[in-house]
Amino acid sequence: MRAPAREGSATGLGKRLARVGVSGRGLVVALPYLWLVLFFVAPFVIVLKISFSDVDLAIPPYKPLLQWAANHTLDVRLNFNNYAFLFTDALYVDALLNSLKVALVSTGLCLLLGYPMAYGIARSAPRTRNLLLLLVMLPFWTSLLLRVYAWIGLLKANGVINNVLMSLGVIHEPLAMLYTPFAMYVGIVYSYLPFMILPLYANLEKMDWQLLEAAEDLGCRPWQAFYKITLPLSRNGILAGSMLVFIPAVGEYVIPALLGGPNALMIGRVLWDEFFANRAWPTASAVAILLLVLLVPFMMWYQNVQARESASEP
């Protein structure tokens, strides 16, 4: 009879809390919820605010948006100059378009390389499969900065690749690879490949391979069966992997800064320079808001795909 009594006391506390509008469930969720509202959502409101204010030679380097005027009225100074500026100077629009292009091409390349890899892993024997998955995850756990740095050593004029090619006699003078768009694409594909493979694998792992056998028994050629069955069924995996590569790649800073050279115009880099080099906080904020507005639809799409994917689980 002890158990019900204990339950009684527990619900007694629960009732008392419920009276002040707090439930046990609410308490569990409240902490992470409040944390994210304060440190993830509220900052964007501030970025939005500062994107409408004037640059100032003060600390912090912007003018307040709200001011109490002499006659006790609230004086609101909204100005759209920062945004207008972004569209009059070709630098920003070019950087944005170039970032979208680079991210799109990199996503395509990751998919081309990642899909067969994920497929191969999903179709291996269970033991090999775990080993291969581990091999995909390992680089993900190692510093991105150090892995990008490795490519500098490989691609440099007197780097490993040029040295090997020259000693083999394939080329007679070093190829200029570092600080070119090529180096940047290599860096991005290399860094983001695990993000493409893992969701694809998670999706392909659930695939019923008997469907393929049935199709082939009925006279379908392997490529046809792949195109008609595997590809459509792995749609959510493709979308999730592509979003995981595309969205962060648009705002990428480290890879273009280290491998792309001074001409690699990416929006993440522009934002960084506006902030750190020019101390133009309002301009940097306007760039951030512009980028965010552009990426939010993709993020919502990603969340939808995730929801569908977890709903399809048994």
């Binding site: 158990a3 046990g24 969720v29 992470p32 067969p116 890899m117 900065l145 490795a150 490949l193 705002g251």
Partner: protein, 277 residues
Amino acid sequence: MNARRSFFVLTALAFGFAFLYLPILSMVVFSFNASKLVTVWDAANSPTLKWYRALLDNEEILGAAWISLKVGVINACGAVILGTLAGFGLARFRRFRGRFTLSAMTTAPLVMPEVITGLSLLLLFVALEQAIGWPAGRGVTTMTIAHMTFSMAYVTVVVQSRLSSFDISLEEAAMDLGAPPVKVFFVITLPIIFPAILAGWLLAFTLSWDDLVISSFTSGPASSTLPMVVFSKVRLGVSPEINVLATLTITVVTTMIVGASLWMARLEKAASGAPET
């Protein structure tokens, strides 16, 4: 089943893994190179441990590593608490007010470009300092808060997926027998999701240890982390000490991951074997 993997797929696998591992391998090899010209192998004096010694004497790198370690450990503990609560709520409470917002807020940091997160957190800290005087200046505290915010999202995903893959009836049975929800969580749920929590802790620590962009925005003048020091060195050109640092990182990470996955495989085996015995 192996016959199903065509020549094309096998080629892609081989090329893909070579692509992923050759750069890492090259750093390991050249960390033993005597020449300061990093990529030119000095056969007469190599292999050597001289850059390993140089790294251990480098006060700047060691100091930065200490700051990274502090931020990483506090961040990982905080992120595990926040992420476990969020993951538990999302996996176990089917319907509550703000569920959609919470799940959106824990998904967005996973894909949000770091420059945006970094800038927005810095502006928040500056605004807070102006308004209420806290946090006074920027440093380890602000960096830790920033890191917790994005790494808790990863912990949430890991915990949530672990919880949705295990049977809720165990918890329900305990509750039917009269255990209060808090006790059920600590006695039943926590041990079951412990591997996920451990994985989440390691993930949160690694994310913090490796982060450059968000740290650069939210750190103060005297609180450069390891990636920040590495980045400023790398921008000036390749340095043999960075190869050593990379090799050490890779060794630690590999040991950790292989150890953890062997240990988890044993736990899984024990867990799946339990009902039969």
